[in-house]
Symmetry: C2
Subunit: 485 residues, 2 copies
């Protein structure tokens, strides 16, 4: 139904995107914000037709999709507010000091947009991290043009949302090519997009292998470009005895709900739980297994994802010392994917790197340690993560500071006595962690700081006020926060 | 005199650096600032011995070295102030909203240090971009440990400065291995440092080939790491008729002084001047050539640099249509390097990529355009630059907005009616530009924002006040600027 773009179409799209960027970058932050708010309204205007289309394409239930649509609209509106507020511009003004030796000239700095940004739609978030998702919203706020490659798992949804964006652009009389939507199931399209000379940054949410392909293409270019790939995570949860003992059943229920949320198809799904052998841990495992067993199997996004889940879960289960704790209500099948919880001793876990690998879906492995020294070793071998969670009392985190320290050094977000699923869209959010969770831990892909990914600073030296951008003019006409020295 | 570190020593140094980092990262921003100020004092305490040593090693004159020492001390002190002030921490607090659906937990974000940073000393700045230079100062401010590889052109200077840093660390009772100093003339040492598993970021100032070697090593690692390589620039200067006509002689003198400053050994040296054919340009060229010709040839940093200058200058002069305008007071020689200015038509320049290459030293090429359309084409083929300069009236920059736009898109700092040499150490400075000027245009290597290169954000979710870092505690004990939502 949707044909892949040809390589000529990719090249033409990037050139048109560059031309549109050159016009768009001169639009004020207020105009950019207006565009984002108009896109939000147009998406809302797609109404139930959009939801129905996506339900058909993705197997995601109505309530989840309505929630995600709300999140997408909230992102557009809140990044629009942040775009206008202008903190991301990092405006700094150093006034001239004529009597310094040598004299200091007037120097002013602010962020400017990088250029055309290529966004790869994700499979698991057809709205919030796809066509008009976080990457597109941040790129537009920064003043970049955007070329989206629709995810082949929901091309019709993507095309509908793209239509809403086109309509918003047209209604404001902005350059049409500011946003370009392409289809492409083949790797060659992705490679051509990343390697095109006009592409200045890339946003991606997906698998490690997909992200690394983009990363390598981006760095092999004559002019390397920044690539923001979020590549998944096992989001370890560390259980400390005292806090667990307070209420092992409730923590088990809380984690079971997090593991099975959306058939486990969230990048912050808790895939590894690390505890210390004790009667409370036994109770926790029993309750977790029971809750997981009683979860009705759900349809995953598409057959490919369900098959990959089945394969990776089977592979993990087949490793030495792995014991399945949940019951299988039914056999793993292509149609409905069963949540699974397994246990393994820390010594088996420590000696088997396969067990550290993400099983994308409602699967979690409980690592049973003899003591905190063993928990520390488990924390040490963990790779970079989007999140890590500590179920612990305040005094336990003080006592085991060395473990907290290691855990913190390996994640972007540290949660205490909560669950990693549920990524709040707010300015304090960090979504992105040390490699391999993401390719650049210095930036977030959720929250308005995500705008900074698509901008770079430029300093103006000795410019008359008239020629300075409004952001840096003496009278501060945009009323943004600035550091003045 | 100084032996290269062995590969075992490199590996041992990085492991020790990691251990020291784990202790140092817990020091408060006030303690880090105290360390930096103490280092500044210790360097001052080295007195004339340091200056004399460096004069012997680098051929740089006393006044220049005293100036650079002052700059280095200023950097340490001003980054210490910025470290304490804490804007670079980007502290953001989103308070819990319990009655939101679903409830919003308390989320707080701040920057934490990346880990051990490897700094490669530069040849042209034995103090300000070497052992205790901008990279070391920013890394320490961020809370990172530092391993410096001394530049082989001034190993004794580097060892003396390292001694001052060691003394400062000892006097404050901080971990000794917080700063480690190695010698290494071979590429293998550099490769081992960049590829070591404990290395978490790299700072470098030098050649394109050197920078790209580091860049590729950093990206080929199992866990890629950020690399901040500043790789030089030709820093184009664009002359607009009206402003030039006002006083061609003064502009010629100003630029001649910038070209010959420090025997042209600054990364912001203006290597290409682009003008429009006119009687004023003729006058400008005559005066520039005269001033350049009358400049007394100077000794470059070392024989290798002088030889490279001679070769690259000869190569440029040998290109089709290149005319030498300055007189040779003496033949190019290994001992003293003669400043040279040449002219070429835009059509020759546009068709010959060799002429775009940096000739490191007091060499500048004037590109003569027939009109502004041709100047625009010259601007378009320019690569990424640290700086670009516009000699123009306000009305000319309004008329030729399209040229300004292109020039701005290709540089980190845009100067009007001034010279690119003289990089002010201040918060509004941007030193770093689009590739190949630097490997990451999103960061600066001069000014306190340089600290941000060596930090990444971490979010704390649902943490009790007691367990939060001071930077994020409710009462704001460090009195830093924070965004609260």
């Amino acid at each position: 139904m949707f044909k892949d773009a040809t390589l000529n179409e990719v090249s033409d799209a990037m050139h048109r995107s560059f031309t549109a960027y050159n016009a768009f970058k001169k639009y004020s932050i207020k105009q950019r914000a207006e565009l984002m708010r108009t896109i939000a309204k147009e998406i809302e205007g797609l109404g139930d037709t959009l939801i129905q289309t996506t339900m058909r394409e993705t197997n995601l239930p109505e309530a989840r999709l309505k929630g995600e649509r709300g999140r997408t609209i909230f992102q557009l509106n809140s990044y629009a507010d942040a775009c206008e507020k202008g903190d991301w511009l990092e405006a700094r003004i150093c006034l001239a000091i004529p009597d310094k030796v040598p004299p200091r000239p007037d120097i002013r700095k602010m962020m400017i947009p990088l250029g055309p940004v290529v966004v790869f739609g994700s499979s698991n978030f057809p709205y919030a991290y796809s066509t008009a998702g976080g990457d597109t919203a941040s790129a537009l706020a920064a003043g970049c043009s955007v070329v989206v490659k629709a995810h082949p798992a929901h091309p019709e949804t993507s095309a509908m949302v793209a239509g809403a964006i086109d309509k918003a652009i047209a209604s404001l009389g902005m350059p049409k090519d500011l946003f370009i939507h392409l289809h492409g199931a083949s790797f060659a399209i992705g490679e051509a997009l990343v390697k095109n000379e006009y592409t200045k940054a890339v946003g991606f949410t997906g698998s490690y292998s997909g992200g690394m392909a983009l990363f390598n293409w981006a760095n092999q270019r004559k002019e390397p470009i920044p690539i923001f790939a979020e590549m998944g995570s096992v989001n370890p949860v560390y259980l400390f005895n005292e806090e667990l003992a307070r209420d092992p059943g409730s923590y088990a229920n809380m984690l079971a709900d997090s593991i099975t949320l959306g058939v486990g198809q969230f990048c912050t799904n808790p895939g590894i739980i690390v505890g210390i052998d004790s009667p409370y841990l036994v109770k926790f495992i029993e309750q977790l297994a029971e809750r997981i067993s009683s979860t009705i199997p759900g349809k995953m996004l598409h057959t490919g994802i369900a098959q990959a889940y089945e394969q990776k879960a089977k592979r993990a289960i087949g490793q030495k010392g792995v014991k399945v704790n949940s019951d299988h209500v039914q056999q793993l099948s292509k149609d409905n994917s069963q949540a699974i919880v397994v246990t393994v001793t820390a010594s088996n876990f420590l000696s088997n790197p396969t067990l550290k690998e993400e099983v994308f879906g409602p699967f979690s492995i409980i690592v049973i340690c003899n003591d905190y020294a063993e928990m520390k070793r488990v924390a040490e071998i963990m790779e970079g993560q989007l999140t890590s969670t500590l179920i612990a009392s305040t005094s336990e985190l003080i006592t085991h500071e060395a473990i907290v320290d290691i855990v913190k050094s390996k994640c972007g977000r540290l949660i205490m006595n909560g669950v990693p699923t549920g990524v709040e869209v707010c300015i304090a959010m960090q979504h992105g962690g040390p490699f391999p969770a993401s390719t650049d831990a210095r930036f977030t892909s959720v929250g308005a700081d995500a705008i900074k990914r698509f901008a770079r600073p430029v300093a103006f030296q000795n410019f008359p006020d008239q020629l300075l951008p409004d952001e840096l003019k003496a009278e501060n006409p945009l009323l943004i926060n600035r550091i003045i020295e």
